[in-house]
Symmetry: C2
Subunit: 224 residues, 2 copies
DNA sequence: TTAGGATAAAAAATCGATTTTTCACTATGA
DNA sequence: TCATAGTGAAAAATCGATTTTTTATCCTAA
């Protein structure tokens, strides 16, 4: 009697507030280092204490919050050293994943990848000043990178890359926008698709590393 | 007025049950695939519902439990494919970490490493049939491997390795004991210490890979 | 016999109230 | 002046009760 849609829609209050908090943490809607006032979060997200605390515990275990016994939850601070660590790990793990993905990816994957890139490009064109289109672009961007590495065959590799991506994006989204560089980055997405489909492993890996390093430079704007 | 000890002792009920549950999950005290009956856990660990649920949420975010909306928590199943993934990731990440650790490790680290190895050897000698000495050996073993890679300089690399270690140990501890292999593995610990202190990167990396692969073979006994 | 639907029991999730701990502030005495 | 103890307010953590959802069982009709 239930289809996949209903199953996904049947989110608990804890899962809903978990998603909303995750979005807001990565989107930079809390100050770095800020202590979270649980009572006001309760108001803001319109949930009770129990599901809210469950969500906070999940996010702390994931690394998007810091938890100290008897002292509640705190938004992690930003530092150049930590960003460098995150970016370097991302580079190493994504290179591994891309290499494996190019070995395993099939025709269907190529089709999905082209689709994801098309959606990203459309989101780029639609990009305005409103947070609506920005959030949509972020979604398409994340899905593009996910799709690129999806067929790598390692659940744990993908899991860690996802986690690093979330950490990285918190920095990137706090950094000042740089329109010249943004265009370069998007051109790299297109090149990545072409190189990946042609299975030019060396070229694709180099392009991905260049892409991550350039994003890293952009994201550094969040630290200073 | 508080020292580090008091701070650590000042654990919340949620943190205590989190630690206890983590220990029991890795120690194999639940059947793989088992659905956790929250009411009986509450009894068994002697805590209320809220701290228990917070602990379960943390463990699910960490990957030691599976959570399905409205359907509670389940112990992850075991599979050969997943173990292979975990072991292969462990091998790749630990090789990276060891290489960096040998670059950065100082005299103090060498001293700590010798100490950790000594404690592991003593725990080996004291090893009896009681779960008391076994749990102590597991602690010393974990601390030895932690210590070996500690100076690698990457917080995220160490975090992922720790997570994979916990996953791996769940398999290893379910596998039947093999005394001949156990002695080989312990000899490798000693070789690792010597190679690490002499900064023979190639040799140490090879030894670590051999060590992980042999452990992998042992752990496969949990799947069949 | 079996698919579908109502129903009761069980389990999960949530809520509001209570207890415990921390934090900010003041007062006291050396 | 400074360290320290005390005090009340605020926040975190926990508890027990309630609501919601799932699951198992039985019943009915095709």
């Amino acid at each position: 009697m239930d289809d996949g849609v209903n199953r996904e829609q049947g989110l608990t209050a804890a899962s809903q507030v978990h998603l909303a908090l995750k979005r807001d943490l990565i989107g930079g809607r809390f100050r770095a280092g800020e202590k979270l006032a649980i009572a006001s979060l309760r108001q803001h997200y319109g949930v009770g204490l129990s599901p809210l605390r469950e969500a906070l515990n999940r996010l702390a275990a994931y690394g998007l919050l810091e938890q100290e016994n008897q002292r509640g939850f705190r938004v992690p601070t930003l530092s150049r050293a930590e960003l460098d660590d995150i970016a370097e790990m991302r580079r190493r793990l994504e290179v591994q994943a891309l290499t494996l993905a190019l070995e395993n990816g099939d025709d269907e994957w190529e089709a999905m990848l082209l689709g994801a890139f098309h959606r990203l490009r459309r989101a780029d064109e639609a990009l305005g000043a409103d947070p609506e289109t920005l959030e949509h672009w972020e979604q398409m961007h994340l899905q593009f990178h996910r799709c690129l590495l999806a067929p790598c065959g390692s659940k744990w590799l993908l899991r860690f890359i996802e986690q690093l991506h979330d950490q990285f994006d918190r920095y990137r989204r706090l950094a000042p926008a740089n329109h010249g560089i943004r265009e370069t980055l998007d051109a790299q997405h297109e090149d990545l698709v072409a190189l990946a489909i042609e299975r030019r492993v060396g070229g694709a890996v180099d392009m991905l590393q260049t892409h991550i390093r350039l994003s890293h430079e952009v994201a550094q704007g969040a630290c200073t």
